[in-house]
């Protein structure tokens, strides 16, 4: 519960490493926060419960990145997109294992918790990506 586990972005990524997509649900107004936040922006409550959400969704938009920052250059060109999950909330991320010419707006994708890593000193979070559902 809220006293044990902080409702933070870092905790979101800790759940990722346990293969769980977790959002914070405000105990007062019911708003679901993805990523979780320590204070509800709607009603300012600090009481939340964790709720596991489906990692399946539809691709809203995408791009293929050719000019990448130094730590991602080895992966370029790579596709990234914004996925609308089944509960309506959105998450961005890389789209892996789909040939780039086959990526289409509206296609079904699902989160993959054990994803591509790029060398990074901080933060050492597990990076998810999206694959075909």
């Amino acid at each position: 519960m809220s006293t044990q586990v902080p409702f933070t972005i870092e905790q979101f990524y800790k759940f990722m490493s346990q293969s769980k997509l977790m959002a914070g649900k405000c105990a007062k107004c019911g708003k679901i926060h993805l990523p979780p936040r320590p204070i509800c922006d709607n009603c300012y409550s600090t009481e939340f419960t964790w709720t596991e959400i489906s990692g399946k969704g539809k691709l809203l938009t995408y791009t293929v990145i050719h000019v990448a920052p130094p730590q991602f250059q080895a992966l370029a060109p790579y596709a990234v997109g914004i996925v609308q999950l089944e509960n309506g909330l959105k998450l961005p991320g890389m789209i892996s294992s789909v040939p780039q010419e086959q990526i289409k707006i509206g296609m079904e994708l699902a989160i993959d918790f054990k994803a591509c890593s790029a060398g990074q000193t901080w933060p050492q979070w597990q990076r998810y990506c999206f694959r075909t559902a």
Partner: protein, 391 residues
């Protein structure tokens, strides 16, 4: 809410935009300040200027923060309160807004607002990384999403929703390069062909090299005065009659719309209401074409055309010089260049020239009402200002 002047612009300066090898940001800024001082002989800077707000986005470029004081020092104004404003690529749009707050508060009758960035000594990969710092870290940068990538996500969504094409975007580049060819201070003073834009290398599909603004060094400097004092300093003040600034979520993915910027729409609504004007009253505009798609999106967010119809507006030629509403007569960020911290008040500089009849070969005939639209990050900040010249 009646078009009454908030502040008056009594002078303006702009450094040459381009590569300033061997110059430090504060040195580039001093050239913009000098032009503003020279243009207004009745201004005695050391006596009259009471505060300074300087847009500067990144410490990373020169390993140099604290640009407010450095810019004040190199402008010969050491001692006045000088503050750096940071709102990514809208850093000097935010400086302008801050200057308006300062004058309207009554604490300072004359203030300098401006901005500067020195970027060209860094590699493209480094600049890509530094610019991305203005986007969300844990869900965007951490996943390799670049700045062009964010705007590409919006462009793809717009193409899908409204049938906008890469040709529509390319036409923005062609237009703005033409305008820059008429601007001696622009970074790239040359025309480009539609084919050149369309066949340039991809940066973040569908955006290609020629859809992207330039990595540029440059500075801008505007002198604002309390309206009642303006005529003491110049016969041709330009009045700022509308000012809007708004914020939105730093992460693009958290927003309702992926094809428009709510921050820009909110800022525009505020500015239009303050000025008691509507989009059709605008005669010349400088908009934030950091990528060609963003100029198209701005047409819709600013009410220059209906939602989804920006491709038709660029096709119509109405936003070219000689059209009904010339946009980015300076060449825009696309071809004049985009030294990010300098951009917001560089837009103000161009509107100042246009409304005082000093825009030479790119002068919009009899322009009296202008607008600037400055976007920070992927739209987490937008600042819109409306200007009126003397009748």
């Amino acid at each position: 809410m009646n078009g009454k002047p908030l502040v008056s612009i009594i002078s303006a300066g702009l450094s040459k935009f381009g590569k300033h090898e061997g110059l430090y940001a504060r040195e580039i800024f001093s050239y913009a300040a000098k032009e503003a001082f020279d243009r207004c002989p009745k201004l005695e800077p050391k006596r009259d200027v009471k505060a300074m707000f300087i847009g500067h986005m990144g410490e990373a470029y020169e390993h140099q923060g604290h640009m407010g004081s450095a810019a004040a020092d190199w402008s010969g104004l050491l001692g006045i309160p000088a503050t750096r404003t940071e709102a990514a690529c809208a850093s000097s749009g935010a400086a302008l807004r801050s200057g308006i707050y300062a004058v309207l508060s009554g604490l300072a009758d004359i203030v300098i607002v401006g901005g500067v960035e020195k970027m060209t000594h860094r590699s493209t990969a480094e600049v890509t990384e530094y610019l991305a710092m203005a986007s969300d870290y844990p869900f965007e940068q951490f996943h390799g999403i670049t700045f062009p990538g964010l705007f590409a996500l919006m462009a793809t969504a717009h193409m899908h929703a409204y049938g906008t094409t890469q040709e529509h975007m390319a036409k923005v580049a062609v237009k703005n390069h033409h305008n820059a060819s008429l601007n001696p201070k622009a970074h790239m003073q040359k025309e480009v062909a539609l084919e050149t834009v369309l066949s340039s290398k991809p940066v973040a599909w569908p955006l290609k090299v020629y859809d992207c603004s330039l990595i540029t060094d440059g500075a801008s400097c505007i002198v604002l005065a309390k309206p009642e004092l303006a005529k003491k300093y110049t016969d041709q003040p330009v009045q700022i009659i509308g000012s809007g600034q708004a914020s939105d979520s730093i992460g693009l993915y958290e927003r309702k719309s992926l094809t428009s910027l709510q921050s820009a729409k909110t800022a525009a609504k505020t500015a239009y209401e303050m000025a008691a004007l509507k989009p059709s009253d605008i005669q010349v505009a400088e908009v934030h074409d950091c990528f060609t798609y963003v100029e198209l999106m701005s047409y819709e967010d600013l009410g220059f055309c209906p939602v989804g119809k920006s491709g038709q507006l660029i096709d119509s030629g109405e936003t070219q010089l000689g059209g009904r509403l010339p946009v980015n007569t300076s060449g825009g960020l696309k071809a004049k260049g985009h030294p990010v911290g300098a951009t917001g008040t560089a837009q103000t500089y161009e509107i100042y020239l246009q409304l005082t009849g000093q825009a030479d070969r790119r002068q919009v005939k009899d322009a009296k009402v202008g607008l600037s639209h400055n976007v920070g990050g992927s739209g987490a900040t937008a600042a819109v200002h409306i200007y009126r010249g003397e009748a």
